[in-house]
Symmetry: C2
Subunit: 374 residues, 2 copies
Amino acid sequence: MRFADGLPLRSGASLAGYELVYETYGELNAARSNAVLVCHALNASHHVAGTHEDASRSEGWWDNLIGPGKPLDTRQFFVICVNNLGSCFGSTGPTHVNPDTGRRWGADFPVVTVEDWVDAQARLLDRLGIAKLAAVLGGSLGGMQALSWTLRHPDRVGECIAVATAPNLSAQNIAFNEVARRAIITDPDFHGGHYDAHGVLPKRGLRVARMIGHITYLSDDSMEAKFGRSLRNASGAGRGAELAYSTQDIEFQIESYLRHQGDKFSEYFDANTYLLITRALDYFDPALAFGGDLSAAFAAARGKRFLVVSFTTDWRFSPARSREIVKALVDNRIDVSYAEIAAPHGHDAFLLEDPRYHGVLRASFERIAAELTR
Amino acid sequence: MRFADGLPLRSGASLAGYELVYETYGELNAARSNAVLVCHALNASHHVAGTHEDASRSEGWWDNLIGPGKPLDTRQFFVICVNNLGSCFGSTGPTHVNPDTGRRWGADFPVVTVEDWVDAQARLLDRLGIAKLAAVLGGSLGGMQALSWTLRHPDRVGECIAVATAPNLSAQNIAFNEVARRAIITDPDFHGGHYDAHGVLPKRGLRVARMIGHITYLSDDSMEAKFGRSLRNASGAGRGAELAYSTQDIEFQIESYLRHQGDKFSEYFDANTYLLITRALDYFDPALAFGGDLSAAFAAARGKRFLVVSFTTDWRFSPARSREIVKALVDNRIDVSYAEIAAPHGHDAFLLEDPRYHGVLRASFERIAAELTR
């Protein structure tokens, strides 16, 4: 959907006109009250559920959660997922042409924030004639958008479901983002972000960035259980006899796995988008304007109902970070439920099908659906 | 010291002749019984204590621990630290000339392992006329060497003090090493490890590698306490007003710190050495030859006395990994003391001056010294 009106950005810059691509699932009811907005995380798109007719293995990134009869049941809810500005999956971003110059935006695309995304999503809802969301749902960076909705547009949100997220990034979180960015920016094929003009792509940097990210998505334990010290060419018997003694070749299966993840990612993801999205993560900090007082920040959300979910082995956004959110809500006497799910999979758990996790979400959406029809 | 005899390596290769540089502190006693070997970790050298006359800020890397009156008291012990083979601080390594080709070894330097280092150190002790060490001490990768001494040369070690180490790397540990190696190897200036012939250095890769490593040396909490979300250009008042909204420039102090660490490292460290030393870490696994049974592996160490030290916030080599070592020793009825130090600094704690930590080491060395004179 095309938006001709300029979008004022938090940085002070403005985006003159822009395109937002989105998908919807289910039907909007007559009262226009059953819409659920799902916000995506770092490398995901608006394709959150279902499959594309013309492609195999095209399940949406949260297809295990969203669909007919699933925890977020599309027989009851009208689900919307918007590709965020600055992304590389259809909405206006660095790979698009800047109308002012006739060249691709590249590194000149303005820095976008979680708040900017939320405002753009709100405008899309205006166009769709949706005054108020039954719920906003997101995991990780998507959870930050869900939280931000309750602060920027509190009258337009019924419930907020924030999964595996944090009220801001820790120094360690920023550190990992920065190393990934340096890998991209110092790739000689990056050319200051204008690689397109040089006919190249900074794939080396993207590969390393993805490998770093991937380590933080998995728990130490799940990586150990899945790969351990298994050798790539292990024959089973005679452990160790197969060692290649090489510094540059793959020796362990975990190396092979990470290289594969990096290679795949570098084929489809845009480097400038990676920089933009990691920066949006870095900048998100609703407490900043309140001198670091998260409880003061969440005073604006009074009246909403929240569900906060964390996973015990998530060391990227640990349960302690979710409990900070819960405390700030409780300080404001806001209705909040908190589920800390014992799951071995680390941060990635929010994308996986865990019966207790999905059970909590199913129960919440069933209650929301029941309240809609009252 | 020059060694003309070939050193057979674990990989099956052999090093025809080699140089080992080392430093000693204190005096060897008449009985030649007071020698303590200190083994170094990833990026350290033989310069473990004291200062160099001609250089400011030249304190050895463990100078807070080793010296007259310090926990490892050089008035009582003869302390030896050897630069390991493959390093870039003087002992034969990739930056040296391969006598067979007349060119620098570069990527052709043979893969060296913890066991190879220990064997080379043992030969050095032969030359120094030291039949048996009062103790072998090391932290991190140095701790792995200390452990290996008790398995390869059990009759030549009195005590083994293994600090902040592990019986092998976890999948996550290998993963971090692999990402660092990929950053180096895919740097276009790496040239397959023969950058010297091209007159360049793969500094971009080394910078990223060091930044990744550095994140794993610090605890999440200590990084938070030291940097948090502080902005580089924060004026103090008006938090947030100073945001630059840039994807490529430094915004947070943690970014500035990491870039500085990466820059410094890339100026003095050799890329091929980085690959070799991270591989030595990957390969260390004394249980491998025993079907993964660490207790069976440590049967060879029977009769030794061990001190194992870990730090609560070390997530690189967590206390759980040290407890695996302790269990394997206890299974063999080997005399072992274990100290788990509550310290906020993560893996780096082993290099810092913590009174409880240093107290434990001081008490151990005082006992060892007392036993020497009995």
